[in-house]
């Protein structure tokens, strides 16, 4: 078996194709199924460069040799539907699919990417402990903002008010002590008077 440009073995692409063709969108639309099978098989056969709107229309969609892609958008329209159908299958019916098959916008040649490379990366990533924050992504700056809830703001105001009250009391005691040191207390006056 040959190997595709994305290093996906052709037999795995064929397996993927057969699974895709059994998915609901392609079961509902024989036209899309023929489109998909044609472009994948042509690509695997090494004829990807000859996949054009005309070849798709005449060899996969049953159009006659008079098909003119310059005035008939049928293949462009079906290509868009094919992309949406593939997206739907990979999102909702991905069981058993090991290869991601895409038909990039602006062309009809399919591309193949192994799906496990994406899932393996996700599996190798350490799972964060519950309650811990994930590490920051390199190259990105996280803005740290000290935001307080209204309850937190009230607590801080109460704390500051308490500190101010203690300082006032302390100041008052200090002043009264100094005044007491300079002027005789009534008891002292009584003693001196004796």
């Amino acid at each position: 078996m040959s190997v595709t440009g994305e290093e996906v073995p052709a037999d795995r692409v064929v397996e993927t194709l057969e699974i895709l063709l059994r998915a609901p969108p392609f079961m509902r639309s024989p036209k899309l199924a023929r489109f998909l099978r044609f472009v994948v098989e042509e690509e695997l056969a090494g004829r990807g460069a000859t996949i054009k709107a005309y070849t798709i229309a005449t060899q996969a969609l049953g159009r006659g040799p008079d098909f003119d892609p310059s005035i008939d958008p049928s293949v462009r329209v079906e290509a868009g539907r094919l992309r949406r159908a593939l997206d739907e299958v990979y999102a909702q019916h991905a069981e058993g699919l090991e290869v991601r098959l895409i038909v990039p916008v602006g062309g009809y040649r399919p591309r193949f990417t192994p799906l496990e490379s994406v899932s393996a990366l996700a599996e190798d990533a350490p799972m964060p402990e519950p309650g811990t924050l994930p590490p920051p992504v390199p190259g990105t700056r996280r803005a740290t903002v000290a935001a307080l809830t209204p309850r937190g703001q009230a607590a801080i105001i109460a704390l500051l008010a308490a500190i101010l009250l203690v300082l006032c009391i302390d100041l008052g005691l200090t002043l009264s002590a100094r005044m007491a040191g300079s002027a005789p207390t009534p008891r002292e006056l009584v003693v001196r008077g004796r």
């Binding site: 024989p30 899309l32 868009g80 539907r81 992309r83 916008v105």
Partner: protein, 74 residues
């Protein structure tokens, strides 16, 4: 999710939708219609197609017409 169908046509040609697409609501169906239009207009080959004559008719599962999206805004 409900399934919507996106039939594409001008005055003389029609490209009916066989498969349809699952969309959450009419808003997503409208987005899908816009995506289909963008895909069709960005094909690899040059065309002489008068896109102003083309439109997408969005239909529900009973094939009742819900709304129409022109390829080019009027």
């Amino acid at each position: 999710m409900p399934r919507y169908f996106f039939d594409i046509m001008d005055a003389v040609q029609s490209v009916p939708d066989e498969a349809g697409l699952n969309c959450r609501d009419l808003g997503e169906a409208h987005l899908q219609a816009r995506t289909l239009i963008a895909d069709a207009m960005n094909g690899p080959e040059a065309t002489r197609i008068d896109w102003s004559a083309w439109r997408v008719e969005v239909r529900d599962e009973a094939r009742s017409l819900l709304f129409t999206v022109p390829f080019l805004p009027r």
